[in-house]
């Protein structure tokens, strides 16, 4: 079996899982206690008005019929009307998704840029003070509640030192850059608007660092463990015995393995990012999908709940498949292993 077929099979496993999840979340969101129509209209509304809205939303139909209607809508690019914005959820998500995507991507890049070198440092200096301090940092990083780190950053860096803006995506007096991708960093760069670029960069620093702290710690630990394992391998010993320069050894041979090790958990880390975004966007008033999601959860905006959960699940699945592809490209053993196992 070729690696490509293995990937296709993985994809085929993902689809039923996503369909299953859509049923699960649909059931959860629609059987919730409390009448969504009543919630939307408020206590002032008459019984007839509530009944009319229930009928309009199709809430009077049996649940499986509602699901079929909903899925039919999904394939036509409709996710149902949000009870609070009164727009189709897909319109809302299109508006809010880029902000979350931008935040998560910057946080991911940051995590790799910091976590991998720290892990290497820790491994090279095993059992010395550098190693011990990075270990303590790693354990603290995974143990700190994200909202707390975010609030502490706000207190120190924004309120007391005035270095960075407290909340938001861009200074309030600046117009948002013309929407091309919806990513402020990219759009302001494309427009050549460096004032906007600087403002959005300053705004993204604290949320991105807050979001990436725990993943940095996790990456560091994985890279450290993999490097230490590599150092004990025969090929390194041989190369070293033959007088290969230490730098070449580290940067050419061990680094590649370190990145492969990091890649194994990047899929999982994306889950952490997407989950963590809910808290981080709330703390920093970041106008993204996760903050929209929190509002949907609190106001029991059932179509928005389903929409947000499904978009996150699809994003998560796509990332994991991409990681699998990258993994196979980087590490022939994985590719050949998968082929041999299935043969």
């Amino acid at each position: 079996m070729r690696y490509r077929d293995y990937l296709i099979r993985r994809l085929l496993y993902t689809i039923p899982a996503l369909i299953g999840l859509s049923m699960l979340i649909f059931a959860i969101a629609r059987v919730m206690p409390g009448d969504p129509a009543r919630l939307a209209l408020g206590p002032e509304a008459s019984e007839e008005q509530v009944a009319k809205l229930r009928k309009e939303l199709g809430l009077d139909l049996p649940i499986h019929i509602q699901y079929v209607h909903y899925m039919r809508g999904v394939f036509q690019g409709k996710l149902g009307v949000s009870l609070y914005t009164n727009r189709d959820v897909i319109v809302d998500l299109k508006e809010y998704f880029p902000a979350t995507f931008e935040l998560v991507t910057v946080a991911m890049l940051l995590a790799v840029a910091v976590g991998v070198p720290l892990g290497i440092l820790s491994a090279m200096r095993k059992d010395r003070w550098e190693d011990h301090s990075t270990r303590v940092f790693a354990l603290s990083g995974v143990s700190m509640p994200r909202f707390w780190i975010g609030i502490l950053f706000q207190l120190v860096l924004a309120y007391h030192l005035g270095l960075l803006p407290v909340t938001g995506r861009m200074a309030a007096d600046l117009p948002a850059p013309a929407r091309i991708t919806g990513l402020y960093l990219v759009d302001s760069l494309l427009a050549g608007d460096f004032v906007a670029l600087k403002s959005s960069l300053l705004h993204i620093i604290m949320p991105a660092v807050t979001l990436s702290l725990s993943p940095i710690a996790q990456l560091m630990r994985v890279v450290r463990a993999s490097m230490i394992e590599q150092m004990r391998k025969g090929y390194i010993l041989t190369a070293r015995a033959n007088g290969m320069p230490e730098n070449l050894l580290v940067y050419k041979y061990m680094l590649k393995n370190a990145f492969i090790a990091a890649l194994t958990i990047i899929g999982l880390l994306y889950g952490f990012f997407l989950g963590g975004a809910f808290v981080v966007e709330t703390v920093f008033s970041w106008p993204g999908m996760a903050r929209y999601g929190v509002r949907a959860f609190i106001y029991k905006d059932f179509n928005a709940i389903i929409g947000v959960v499904l978009v996150i699940a699809v994003a998560y699945a796509v990332i994991n498949i991409l990681v699998d592809i990258a993994y196979g490209l980087l590490d022939p053993r994985i590719r050949l292993g998968a082929e041999a196992r299935e043969a």
Binding site: L21, A29, I151, L155, G271, K300
Partner: protein, 317 residues
């Protein structure tokens, strides 16, 4: 399947002397294995004792348990869980109120101490439920295999298709915000990880010789699953549960912070931090101390779990 069954093989007749000898040998073997097990445990404890960080973790965890049990005796103002004191609102941290007081004059330290009860109950209850559902399903899937395995594992795939905290948020959003419902919501997203862990372990253990031996001697599958396989996954479970209690506490705090968890006036740390956020930046103590409590709790379980992992020498994932 072999065409011979074990029952077809006649046991050789032994003379009483030889039989007694065999029994004695068997007893000796059993005794040695208990001895060996004890020795293993002794070594594990020794390794744990040698690591300072693990001991710090253990001390934190034990300290938290003491705080939770004796909260009414330890907290300086235990009545502040329920009462308000408008005459002393927003007192900054000082000698009288170590962590300051909140918007209705309640002592933050006392509420943080009572909060250990809430957080530890979330941590322990979530893991108890996750284990009760996840472990048996994992054992069955791994041992029985075939279509049963397929059904169980595809089911867990559904739950694993989304980051657990998002599922927990969605579930708690539709339930009334109580402690029990928070626990349910988190456990609902937590068990599949255990099913997957155990299933993977069982798949590798069931090929081992001792399981093969047990099977060929005609032991029934239930016996093999619970008496032969389960003990071999215990160490990995202990390590993972210790680490996960911390993360469950963290998830509970996140739900509280977002307004999806336990409602005030219950002294839940995440909820306290969220309420305190409204009074930033001047009344910093309202968010800082509950957050610190969460951090120390999760760190304690992490240090202990990490130490146990090294001591038992198990690898997770």
């Amino acid at each position: 399947m072999s065409k011979y069954r074990t029952s077809d093989v006649k046991a050789p007749r032994l003379n009483p002397e030889a039989q007694a000898q065999a029994v004695a040998l068997e007893e000796q073997r059993a005794a040695r294995s208990y001895g060996a097990r004890f020795e293993d445990l002794r070594r594990t404890l020794h390794r744990l004792r040698r690591s300072t960080l693990s001991l710090v973790g253990l001390a934190i965890v034990l300290g938290l348990i003491v705080l939770a049990i004796f909260a009414p005796q330890i907290a300086p103002y235990p009545e502040d869980i329920a009462t308000v004191h408008f005459e002393r609102t927003f007192q900054p941290p000082g000698r009288q109120y170590l962590f300051g007081t909140d918007e209705v004059g309640r002592d933050v330290l006392s509420r943080v101490i009572f909060g250990t009860r809430i957080s530890l109950s979330i941590g322990v209850a979530v893991l108890a439920i996750a284990l009760a559902i996840g472990v048996p399903l994992g054992l069955i899937a791994g041992y029985v295999g075939g279509p049963v395995n397929t059904i169980i594992m595809r089911l867990t795939d559904i739950f694993l298709a989304i980051p657990p905290v998002v599922l927990a948020m969605a579930v708690s959003a539709v339930l009334t915000p109580t402690l029990e419902n928070s626990i349910f919501a988190i456990a609902f997203s937590w068990w599949p990880w255990y099913t997957r862990l155990i299933q993977g372990q069982v798949l590798s253990i069931k090929e081992e010789t001792f399981v093969e031996a047990s099977r060929s001697a005609g032991a029934n599958p239930l016996y093999i699953t619970f008496k032969e396989i389960l003990p071999n996954v215990l160490t990995i479970l202990i390590v993972k549960v210790t680490l996960d209690i911390g993360y469950a506490v963290l998830t509970g705090a996140v739900l509280g912070f977002l307004g999806l968890g336990v409602r005030p006036p219950t002294p839940e740390w995440g909820t306290m931090a969220s309420k305190g956020r409204l009074h930033l930046p001047t009344r910093w103590w309202l968010t800082t101390f509950p957050g610190l409590a969460i951090f120390v709790t999760v760190l304690g379980f992490n240090l202990l779990g990490d130490g146990l992992r090294d001591a038992f020498d198990v690898e997770l994932e």
